[in-house]
Every structure is written in structure tokens, then in C-alpha cells.
């Protein structure tokens, strides 16, 4: 997606300039630089931002301290995830998480973590914020790292003795990392 970044840069700046003119903001008495034309909104403290800033991105930014192993993850998964995803992450009834390699070109593609997800960091972002479904944000960072380790091991992405933490997770190469292309539409003519 690096192409997107360079492509978006200039139009964005141009867009803002056009917008400022369109909105007539430039004619407001106060400088746009101090952002206080309207005197609304208050500065966020670092502490507030830390509490709200829960996303995790591919380079690992946002990953908290802590670590987990496949063995610990098996326990977490069995007690907190298996009811919806099945004992081995393949049975459901909810999303299948394991397996599905070499199915993406078939009539029944299985889009699992191992077969489809391009970034390992997405696992932390998603599991931490949204899982388990009945108690989101209830897992500790160690539990989250552990269950990620188990899921990656089940998908044969990491070794059984691997330790997953803020340093190792962003380095995990996902099998379908190069499986995505930027939107080429309109593609049907």
C-alpha cells in the first residue's frame, strides 16, 4: 500500500488549500495555525491519548509490553475462544481461524488467519479490542499474545517454541502478505 501513500500526499494538500478557500476560513480573524477560530475542543493530555490509543499497526507501533507462548495460548483459546471457533479453530460456528491454505482459488475459499490475513499485527489490534465477543477488552496483554501465538502455530506460521511479543509479532511473515492489490475498479467494461 506504499503506492497509496505517495499518491495521496499531494492531492490531500491541494484539497485542504481548496477547502480553506471554499470555506472562507482564510478570512477569519484568527490564524488557522492556532486552530482556535471557533474556540471549541480542548487539548488532549498525553494520559488521555494513551488510554484511547489502542490501535496496533504493521510496524508494531501500539503493541504493549508482555509476551505469550503457544502453550499458554492453547489454554486461553480452549477457555475463551473455542466455544465460538471450535476446539482447533476450524469447527466454528463462528469464523474459521485455522487452515484453508491453497483454497483461495477454489469454489469454496476459506479465508483464515493462515490463508488470508496479510499482517500478524492485525491479530493484536482485533483480538484485544473485540474479543472474546461476549467480553471484549477483557484479555490481558499476555493472554492476547499467547492466543495469537497459538493461532499462528496452528496455522503453521510460527514454530511451537516461538515467543510472541512486541518485538517478534511485527516480524512474523504472513503467508498471504502479497495477496492484495489496490482497488483497480472500474474493472468491468
Amino acid at each position: 500500500m506504499d503506492g497509496y501513500a505517495t499518491y495521496m500526499h499531494k492531492p490531500m494538500v491541494a484539497g485542504i488549500v481548496v477547502l480553506l478557500m471554499a470555506l472562507g476560513v482564510v478570512s477569519f480573524g484568527r490564524s488557522a495555525e492556532d486552530g482556535t477560530e471557533y474556540g471549541l475542543g480542548r487539548p488532549a493530555t498525553d494520559e488521555e491519548i494513551r488510554a484511547w490509543n489502542i490501535d496496533v499497526v504493521p510496524n508494531g507501533e501500539g503493541l504493549p509490553p508482555g509476551k505469550g507462548t503457544v502453550k499458554q495460548g492453547a489454554q486461553v483459546f480452549a477457555t475463551k475462544c473455542a466455544a465460538c471457533h471450535g476446539a482447533t479453530g476450524t469447527e466454528g460456528p463462528k469464523d474459521r481461524l485455522v487452515g484453508g491454505q491453497n483454497t483461495l482459488t477454489t469454489a469454496k475459499p476459506a479465508r483464515t488467519i493462515g490463508s488470508y490475513w496479510p499482517y500478524a499485527t492485525t491479530l493484536y489490534d482485533y483480538i484485544h479490542r473485540a474479543m472474546p465477543f461476549n467480553a471484549p477488552q477483557s484479555l490481558t496483554s499476555d493472554e492476547t499474545y499467547s492466543v495469537i501465538a497459538w493461532l499462528l502455530f496452528q496455522n503453521q506460521v510460527i514454530a511451537e517454541d516461538a515467543v510472541i511479543d512486541a518485538q517478534t509479532l511485527p516480524k512474523v511473515q504472513m503467508p498471504n502478505r502479497n495477496g492484495f492489490i489496490p482497488d483497480p475498479r472500474p474493472d468491468v467494461r
Binding site: 500500500m1 497509496y4 501513500a5 495521496m8 500526499h9 492531492p11 490531500m12 494538500v13 484539497g15 485542504i16 481548496v18 477547502l19 480553506l20 470555506l23 476560513v25 488557522a32 486552530g35 477560530e37 471557533y38 471549541l40 475542543g41 480542548r42 487539548p43 488532549a44 488521555e48 491519548i49 484511547w52 490509543n53 489502542i54 490501535d55 499497526v57 504493521p58 483461495l104 482459488t105 469454489a107 475459499p109 479465508r111 488470508y116 490475513w117 496479510p118 499482517y119 492485525t122 489490534d125 482485533y126 479490542r129 473485540a130 465477543f133 471484549p136 477488552q137 495477496g179 492484495f180 492489490i181 489496490p182 482497488d183 483497480p184 475498479r185 472500474p186 474493472d187 468491468v188 467494461r189
Partner: protein, 422 residues
């Protein structure tokens, strides 16, 4: 002070007896309510009508409902299905004009509808900005407002189109779309307030629901010009299902990125690669690669009358439907009665609004013979809505999302209307 316990006891007793009485008469009350439902009077000109009331409701004769859904292939409806439903579709076959009543606006949420107190809700904007700011809902409502009428469509709308044709209604197939007047603050106003840094090209939008749904928004010209943080829908506050008290609105873009219950915007220099834009909402192609950030909803149309499972009689019918494009205005809608051999331009209802449902109509006299009704939308970019055959030729049938092929309704000799892939 001394009397207090006694007083409370007495109140409790009263409350208890009241509820006991209420419980005992529940059946009676229900019966009364039922009897009260449609209460036609023989001659409404000879009986005084109802008094004003604080919050209006539709006529008790009107029964249109959203249709609960639990994903591709899963049974639709309420009753025993209700616990599995994660979306509900708009009854577009029953609507007139272009506006969807808020109570019938389609729903899609990923871990329920949160109950948010607007006085406690905050929006944080941070990341690659000069100053991180926190806004209350009231503060946002004091900023210069903007309003526009636009469609919102789940990119999974018509996902059954990728599968074999089922005998279903237009609500089943096309219900995950609606049109509202959306009111709020322009995103640009807020970005200007925080001072976006030059290197910021993407923005994470995050919801305050139990899914904490997060999506990366590319800061393109279109988005910088048109994106809104909305608090209003059809003149009143957003419905809880639509993100109360705040949602992101990106006209023409797939529903999922219009993040509801918005609590945070974070400016960044690359997409954040959340689950929703990698594992989901990506379009798998026949070669195993997937389109990513396929955000625009391409031109699409559907005849809502006559449509699936309806029964018509020979004689006059006004064919009616909706056309829309995430790329701008609808410029033409063609209608065919013979499965796409001959086409006739339909009338478009004014005003024709960019990135908004456009109502089209065409008079038709049905002669009782088999007919295959189709509509084809052309938008201001010149894009022509494709046939299903052409769409599937390029994308295969594993995409799940962004199905926008021409819809066919077959009218059988007996007047029954059926979903068909022509």
C-alpha cells in the same frame, strides 16, 4: 427521618400491588391494545379524531418492517432467527420517493448497538496533527454545520447475487441500503482545527461500540471535500443503530467505513491494516488475489416494483425503482422488459442528487406474457452498470462484496415475479 422506612415500605407495597395488578391484567391490556390497533371508524367525518401527541407514529395500518439477516445463505427474518441476526434490511419494495424513514434504515453492526450517553461521549483527534483535541458532542454541534442527502449501502448488499439465484424479495437482496439527510460537521473543519501534518495521508476512524470497529480512511480530495462527522439524520438525532451520537459519513463509500459511534480519529502516514480492511471487506478474485480498499460503491439500480415474490395482474403498472452511484449523479436509467434486448429510458425523479438514491419510473402495460424486467444505471462518469455475466467474468463468484450487476425479475404468465439471473 423515623417515618422514612415506613414510607418506603408503603411505597414498595403500592408498587408491588400496582405491578401485580398490571401483571394480572396484562392479557386484558394486550387485548385492548390489539383491539385498538387499526380502529377504522365508519365515517371519520362524524367522529372527532385523535388528539396531538408528543412523538408521532405511523398509521397502525402500515406494517412495513426491516428484515433481519444473519449473513449469506442464512435464514432471514425475526422470531427464532432474531438472536443470530447482525443486520436488518430496509423494505425498499414498500418505500416511495428516495428518503428512508429513520426507523426503517438498514442496520449492520458488529457487536450490537451500544447505549451511549451523549453527554459522556467524546471525540478525540490525534496522531500526525499539530495539536490533539477532544470534542464534546455539544461542541461539534456548535461548529459550522453541513447537510446532504446521500445513500448509504453496505458493500455486502446483494451478496447473494454471487450465488445461484434464490426466489427472494427485493428486500432480501437489496435491503442493506438506505437514503437519509445527514447533518454534521465537515471533516475538513475538524482537520483544520487540529492542524494536519504534511505527512498525514490516512486516518483511522474508530467506533465506541463493543466491536471497537476501526477502519483506515485514505485522505483523498473527495474525502477531504465531502466527509462529515454526523449527529443528525433526517432532521433529528442519529438513531442508535446509525451511530448515535456521532458517526463518520463518507458519501458514496461502502457502509462499513462510515464508522458509527465514532470516538477517535487518528492521522497517520499509512493504512492501519485493521481486520475490517484485510480479513473482511476485501474482494477475492478468481486468481486468489483480493482487491483492497475498494471503497467506492459503483453504479447500481434495481426495480422495486414489480419485484421478487410479488404477484401482478395484466394491465397498467408503473415500473419503479432506485438507481445510485458512489461516483456522482445518475444520468440515465434504462429499463428493459425483455431481458435486455430492448431498452427504454426511464423518467428520473428530480432532484437528482450526487451519491444519492434516484427514483426512476416507467409506465408499462403488462399483456400477461412472460417478461424479464431489468434496469441499467449510467452515472455521470459514463460508467454503465454491468450484466451479471460481465461482472462474474472479471471477478468470479468469491468476492462477497461489491456486487452491482443488472438485476432481472421474471414475470411468469400467472403474474408471479421471480428473481432470475438473465
Amino acid at each position: 427521618m423515623q417515618d422514612a422506612p415506613k414510607e418506603i415500605g408503603r411505597r414498595r407495597f403500592l408498587r408491588r400491588s400496582a405491578s401485580a395488578i398490571a401483571f394480572g391484567t396484562a392479557a386484558l391490556v394486550l387485548q385492548a391494545a390489539k383491539a385498538e390497533e387499526p380502529k377504522p371508524v365508519d365515517d371519520p367525518m362524524r367522529v372527532p379524531g385523535a388528539l396531538p401527541r408528543p412523538y408521532g407514529e405511523r398509521s397502525p395500518f402500515e406494517k412495513q418492517q426491516r428484515l433481519g439477516g444473519a449473513g449469506p445463505g442464512a435464514p432471514h427474518g425475526w422470531g427464532t432467527n432474531a438472536p443470530n441476526n447482525f443486520n436488518s434490511g430496509t423494505p425498499i419494495q414498500d418505500l416511495h420517493g428516495i428518503i428512508t424513514p429513520s426507523a426503517l434504515h438498514f442496520e449492520r453492526h458488529h457487536n450490537g448497538v451500544p447505549a451511549i450517553d451523549p453527554d459522556r461521549h467524546r471525540l478525540l483527534i490525534h496522531g500526525l496533527v499539530e495539536r490533539s483535541l477532544i470534542f464534546t458532542v455539544k461542541e461539534l454541534q456548535r461548529l459550522p454545520a453541513a447537510s446532504r442527502i446521500a445513500f448509504l449501502e453496505c458493500s455486502g448488499n446483494t451478496w447473494d447475487g454471487w450465488r445461484d439465484a434464490q426466489d427472494v424479495t427485493v428486500q432480501d437482496l437489496y435491503g442493506l441500503m438506505s437514503t437519509s439527510e445527514w447533518t454534521g460537521v465537515k471533516l475538513a473543519t475538524l482537520l483544520e482545527a487540529v492542524g494536519v501534518r504534511r505527512e498525514a495521508t490516512w486516518m483511522l476512524a474508530e467506533g465506541g461500540d463493543a466491536a471497537g470497529l476501526d477502519r483506515s480512511v485514505p485522505l483523498t480530495d473527495d474525502i477531504l471535500n465531502e466527509a462529515m462527522i454526523c449527529y443528525g439524520q433526517n432532521g433529528e438525532a442519529l438513531r442508535p443503530e446509525q451511530g448515535y451520537p456521532l458517526r463518520l459519513f463518507l458519501p458514496g463509500f461502502e457502509g462499513n467505513i462510515n464508522v458509527k459511534w465514532l470516538r477517535r480519529l487518528k492521522l497517520g502516514s499509512a493504512p492501519f491494516m485493521t481486520r475490517w480492511e484485510t480479513a473482511k471487506y476485501t474482494d477475492l478474485m478468481p486468481d486468489g488475489k483480493a482487491y483492497q480498499f475498494s471503497l467506492v460503491m459503483e453504479a447500481k439500480s434495481v426495480i422495486t416494483y414489480p419485484s421478487g415474490q410479488q404477484q401482478i395482474q395484466p394491465g397498467f403498472h408503473e415500473i419503479s425503482g432506485l438507481a445510485w452511484s458512489g461516483r456522482g449523479r445518475v444520468t440515465r436509467v434504462d429499463v428493459s422488459m425483455d431481458g435486455g434486448r430492448m431498452w427504454k429510458a426511464a423518467q428520473l425523479q428530480e432532484p437528482i442528487i450526487p451519491k444519492c438514491h434516484t427514483r426512476f419510473r416507467l409506465p408499462w402495460r403488462w399483456n400477461g406474457q412472460e417478461a424479464v424486467l431489468q434496469s441499467r444505471c449510467i452515472d455521470e462518469t459514463g460508467y454503465v452498470q454491468p450484466t451479471r455475466q460481465d461482472l462474474v467474468k472479471v471477478r468470479g463468484t468469491n468476492s462477497i462484496y461489491h456486487y452491482n450487476a443488472i438485476q432481472s425479475w421474471k414475470v411468469e404468465r400467472d403474474g408471479r415475479v421471480r428473481n432470475l439471473y438473465a
